[in-house]
């Protein structure tokens, strides 16, 4: 899996589903025979992966929301990690 470029449009694989885990107070990504617990930032990033926004759009949205810059590396690393598990796909 090659790393995301700024123009790549990340989306969740159809086999994966975001779900609230009330008992443990977090969001989780569920998929066949597995799950990934998410921190609030991770959940926020995935909620923005709608198959329309590019990585650059997602980074810009988060940077605006929090009034910070320089998030691209962290966001890309998070998504690349899930792409490595086949849970996130990059489209044009």
């Amino acid at each position: 899996m090659s790393p995301a470029t700024a123009a790549a449009v990340p989306r969740l694989h159809a086999k994966a589903r975001l779900q609230r885990d009330e008992v443990r107070g977090r969001e989780v990504l569920l998929y066949p025979e597995g799950l990934v617990g998410l921190n609030p930032t991770g959940a926020e990033i995935l909620a923005l992966c709608d198959g329309v926004r590019s990585l650059a759009d997602i980074v810009a949205t988060l940077e605006r929301r929090y009034g910070v810059t320089g998030l691209e590396r962290d966001v890309a690393a998070f998504l690349d990690g899930l792409a490595g598990k086949g849970l996130v796909l990059y489209g044009p």
Partner: protein, 367 residues
């Protein structure tokens, strides 16, 4: 924090049209203990209690779960609760219409077994002509947009087909193939001599898996369940007793894993008498081997105990006669010689006993 379960395996029925000789169901599946199946309402209550308790992943299994006419309703309830729901089926006589109905009800994922890479061997191992139905159902599953897992149990009669099985899963567009080397419980333990692979077979199959993983990357996930008799250390069974996993059997008994019912020194509670929460928190069966306070040597002082949790309690009971000792698979176990004896000689192929109701009743009668 106290552990809460993430996984629930719902064994909806022990009826099954297939007769695989490695079946993990109890030998006495046809006996009175499993006779009175839970009703639709009882299962729905179990699912609600499971969700409240922390369960996120639900497996609908059996026996053959599609024999339950209320399967659609059970899936609808599970989906409404937000459970990620997997159907684990033989696909015998499974139609496109039924699968479409299950999709509409909210089923997330389908796992279909196959016993060999071609009709001749698959049907022989299953004891029932079913390969054609399976292949048809694989295609329906993909057409309907389900993620698909191809489930294969490996043993001496089909290990030579690992490459063909992976190619089959690839050609179907499956997400995953689970290559599960036989674990020796239930019918598999009864048929151990006939199923036991050779070291050379396992080594050859493993070389194929490594090569195919490198070729396929994330396109097809290849899960390889270790043949634990051939290992030096035990498997971290269920991620630890009573830590993440529970099984509910067709008549409502709750077990820490799907083989635990064979441990006669434990008492198992029933969802008809107690809530799932109470059973998880308070029952003897779930507490007996939770944590590491129960561990004898060599586990107690072993640095691996946090990794493998002392291995499998069922295996300790079935092989060494005591559920409270180190898994005899462990090279440090004083009972390891019992495993070595099972591996010792490379046998001529033997006849196996097919999993079927008459054989089950006969074996149960024998005790």
């Amino acid at each position: 924090m106290d552990p809460k379960p993430l996984w629930l395996l719902a064994e909806l029925t022990y009826k099954c049209p297939l007769q695989c000789p490695y079946c993990s169901n109890p030998l006495d599946f046809a006996g009175p203990r499993f006779k009175r199946e839970l009703s639709t309402d009882e299962w729905c209550r179990v699912f609600r209690e499971a969700k409240t308790l922390g369960v996120l992943q639900l497996g609908l299994s059996g026996g053959e779960p599609t024999l339950r006419p209320d399967l659609e309703e059970l899936v609808r309830t599970a989906h409404g609760l937000g459970l990620y729901t997997s159907l684990i089926t033989s696909a015998f006589r499974l139609t496109r219409e039924r699968l479409a109905g299950l999709k509409a009800a909210g089923l997330d994922h389908v796992q279909i077994s196959v016993q060999g890479a071609d009709a001749e061997l698959s049907d022989e191992i299953a004891g029932t002509a079913s390969y054609r139905d399976k292949i048809a159902a694989y295609h329906y599953t993909r057409e309907l947009g389900f993620p698909l897992t191809v489930n294969v149990v490996l043993h001496r009669r089909n290990l030579h087909q690992v490459e063909a099985l992976i190619r089959l899963a690839e050609s179907l567009g499956a997400e995953r193939i689970e290559l599960a080397n036989t674990q020796f419980y239930g019918w598999a333990l009864h048929n151990r001599d006939a199923l036991m692979p050779t070291k050379a077979q396992l080594a050859a199959a493993w070389r194929v898996v490594e090569r195919e993983r490198a070729r396929l990357g994330t396109r097809l996930e290849i899960v390889w369940v270790l043949p634990d008799y051939h290992e030096e250390f035990p498997k971290p069974c269920m991620g630890g007793w009573g830590r993440a996993y529970m099984t509910v059997t067709p008549a409502g008994e709750v077990w820490p894993c799907h083989a635990a019912g064979r441990i006669t020194t434990l008492t198992f509670e029933n969802v008809r008498d107690h809530s799932l929460d109470w059973i998880w928190e308070h029952s003897d069966a779930f507490n007996r081997f939770r944590g590491d306070g129960w561990m004898p040597e060599p586990c107690r002082s072993c640095p691996r105990k946090a990794q493998d949790f002392g291995g499998c309690r069922c295996q300790a009971f079935l092989v060494a006669g005591d559920a409270g000792v180190t898994d005899p698979v462990c090279s440090l176990s004083p009972h390891r010689h019992l495993i070595d004896a099972a591996l010792a000689h490379e046998r001529e192929p033997e006849e196996w006993t097919y999993r079927a109701a008459p054989a089950s009743r006969a074996l149960a009668g024998r005790g």
